[in-house]
Subunit: 326 residues, 2 copies
DNA sequence: GACGATACTGTTAGCGCTAACCTTGACGGG
DNA sequence: CCCGTCAAGGTTAGCGCTAACAGTATCGTC
C-alpha cells in the first residue's frame, strides 16, 4: 500500500480510503489510485485490515452436513445475502455432533468473526459459554428458540410432523408408522409431532416407530422397506423423516411390486427435487431452507450494523404438498 | 496474549509458542499456559498471526456449483485432508463462469491464501496473470492439464464420453443421441468423446446431438424426453451428459410408458446415489470426485511445505458401471 | 471581510502476534 | 576446569493496515 501511495504521490491512508471508504476520496484521484494499484498487482491484505479495524468481514457458518441438500440450499441463501455486502462465510461441517460443533467454534473464533450462524439449538455448555462471552451476534437457523433475546429463523419441525400425520389420518390411514434416522433434534421434533397427532387420535403405537442412528440415505430407505416386510408390519402408511429415505422406499416398493399408496402409503419431508418425479410422486412437506438462509443472514447483517432486526424470532412456515404416494 | 502471559508469569512469546510450537516449551509450563488461557477465554487472533507470520493457514477453493453433488463431494475430500493439518478452506462458487471466478480470485487473494484449488482449466487471462504472479501454489481439479509444470488432479472426461459410447455400440445401439447441458468444458469433453467414438464407427450424426446452456436438473431431463418424442427422434439410445438429467429421463419414460432399454436406452454420467435405485437402474460412469478432492489437497499440502509432490499430474481414472437402462 | 461549513488529504499511533536473534543455566566430555 | 552443546525462555522490531484526530483549501453567507 505504501508503494502504491508513493507511485500515486499521496499518503497510504488515501490509498486505504480509495478502497474502503470511496466517498472520502476525490473521484478522479480515486480512479487513479485504483488504476495504479491494479497495474502494480496490489491487493489489500485482509489480515492487516482485520487487525487494524477489528472487523474481519467474516461470518462463521456451521451446518450439520454438506451432502444433505437442505443445508446446502440454506448456505446458498446465506451466501446470496452476505457476499453483496462484502462479508465472507467461513463454513464448518459439524456432522450432527455438538462436540464437533464446539471444536469448530473454537477454531473459528480465532478468525474473530463479525457474526455467527448456527444450525439447530442443541449446543454444548462450552459452546454456549463461548457465544455468550462474545460480542458478535449469533443467529440460530432451522429451529425456533423461545428464550427471550435469542435470535432464530426457521420453522416448526413439530408442526411439520403433525401436519403430515393429520393428512394421513384424513386420508383414512390408521396404522401409520414412522421411520426416524440420524436422530438429530429436528428429526425427533418431527417424531414428536407425529406422536402427538396420533395420541390425540388414540392411534399411537410405539411398535410402529423405528429409530435408527444411521445417517440418512436412499439405500437405507430401501432397506427399511425390506425390513418392514420381513417383520410383517401391519402399517398401512409410513411417514419417513425425510425425502431421501422416502425416495429409497418408493424405489424399493416398485422393485418388490408393492403398490403405493394402495398397499402402503409413503410420505417424506423436505421436498427434494426428485420427489416430484418418482413413481408415484411423493407426498411431502416443503421446508423454506433457502429463505431461512437469507433471513438469518439478513438478521445478522442488521445486528452487525448495530441495528435491531425487525423480529428476533422468524417462523417461515411449511408448505404441505399432497402427491400420489398417499 | 499479553494478559495470559502476565497471569502465568512468562513473556508473550512463550504463550505464542505454547500454542504454535509446543515442542519449544517445557511440558508442565505449556499445560499451565493452556489451562490459564482456557480459563480466561483467550483465543489466538488469527488475523494477527497471519500478519506476523505471513501464513494465513487458509486455502481458497473455487467450485462451479454447490447444488451439484459432484463438487460437494470433492469439497468433502478437500476438507478431510486439510482440516487435520490446520488449514481452513475458503469456499467460492463460480456458477460455471470464468468471469465470476476471476472476481472471486481477486476477493480471496486479499486473504493471502497459502494455496489455491481451482476447478477445471478454463480461466480468464486476468486470472492466469494473478495466479502466475502469486507465490502460493495452485492445483487444478477435475480436468487434467498437459502444460509442463502445471498441477492437476482429475480424470479424462473425453475418455468417459468415449467409454460410454463404445459400450452402447457394443450393446448394438446404432442411433445414439447425446444431450449436453450447462455446456461447461467437462460436458463438452464428454461430447467430444462421444463424437469421436461415433465417427470412428461411421455413425456420428449432428442431428442427434442436443446442446442446451440451461443448468442441469431432473426436470430438464424429463422435459428432454418429451421433446425427443415430440420431435419424433429416431434414437435407440440417449447418452445424457450427467445423472440428474438421465434420472429425469428415466422417470419420464416410466410415466409415459416408454420401455427402457427396449424402446430407448438411457445412460448417464457421475453415478449419483439414486442411480443404483431407479427403475430400471441407470448405466453410468463413476467419477472419483472425493478422491480428486483428497489428492488435490494432498498435493497442495506438499507444495505448501516446500516439498515437490510425487506427481504433478494425477489421473484417477473412471469406473464404468453397466446397469439395466442399457 | 470574517466565519462556519464542507470536502479532501495527512500524521500518529497501535491493532495482536511471531521471526530472528539473544541470554541463561545445566550438562557432559576431554 | 574449560568449552561446546542444548533446552528453555526472553527481547526487539515490525508484519500491513486503519481509527482518530488534525490540518488545509474552497465556498457561500451575512
Amino acid at each position: 500500500m505504501a508503494d502504491v501511495a508513493e507511485r500515486v504521490g499521496v499518503s497510504a491512508i488515501t490509498v486505504s480510503r480509495a478502497f474502503k471508504r470511496p466517498e472520502l476520496v476525490g473521484p478522479e484521484l480515486r480512479q487513479r489510485i485504483l488504476d495504479i494499484a491494479q497495474s502494480m498487482g496490489y491487493v489489500p491484505n485482509q489480515a492487516a485490515s482485520a487487525l487494524a479495524s477489528a472487523r474481519s468481514m467474516t461470518v462463521a457458518v456451521l451446518i450439520p452436513s454438506m451432502t444433505n441438500m437442505v443445508f446446502v440450499e440454506t448456505l446458498a441463501g446465506i451466501h446470496d445475502m452476505l457476499l453483496p455486502r462484502g462479508y465472507r462465510a467461513l463454513i464448518g461441517v459439524t456432522h450432527y455432533s455438538p462436540e464437533e460443533e464446539e471444536r469448530l467454534i473454537r477454531t473459528y473464533l480465532q478468525f474473530q468473526p463479525d457474526g455467527i450462524l448456527l444450525t439447530g439449538t442443541d449446543h454444548t455448555d462450552v459452546t454456549r459459554t463461548y457465544l455468550s462471552a462474545l460480542s458478535s451476534p449469533t443467529v440460530h437457523m432451522m429451529e425456533l428458540l423461545d428464550e427471550p433475546g435469542s435470535l432464530s429463523v426457521g420453522c416448526s419441525q413439530e408442526e411439520g410432523g403433525r401436519l403430515m400425520t393429520t393428512h394421513l389420518l384424513e386420508r383414512g390411514y390408521r396404522r401409520i408408522g414412522f421411520v426416524a434416522v440420524q436422530l438429530d433434534p429436528r428429526t425427533l421434533s418431527r417424531l414428536d409431532g407425529y406422536r402427538h397427532a396420533l395420541e390425540e387420535a388414540g392411534l399411537y403405537d410405539e411398535k410402529r416407530v423405528w429409530r435408527l442412528p444411521d445417517p440418512s440415505s436412499i439405500h437405507l430407505g430401501a432397506a427399511m422397506i425390506d425390513r418392514l416386510m420381513a417383520e410383517n408390519t401391519d402399517c398401512d402408511a409410513v411417514f419417513f423423516c425425510n425425502d431421501d429415505l422416502a425416495q429409497g422406499a418408493l424405489f424399493q416398493c416398485q422393485r418388490r411390486g408393492i403398490r403405493v399408496p394402495e398397499q402402503l402409503a409413503i410420505a417424506g419431508f423436505n421436498d427434494l427435487p426428485a420427489s416430484a418425479w418418482t413413481t408415484p410422486t411423493l407426498t411431502t412437506i416443503a421446508t423454506p431452507r433457502y429463505a431461512i438462509g437469507r433471513h438469518a443472514a439478513a438478521m445478522l447483517l442488521d445486528l452487525m450494523d448495530g441495528k435491531e432486526p425487525p423480529r428476533r424470532r422468524v417462523d417461515l412456515g411449511l408448505t404441505f404438498i399432497a402427491r400420489e404416494s398417499t
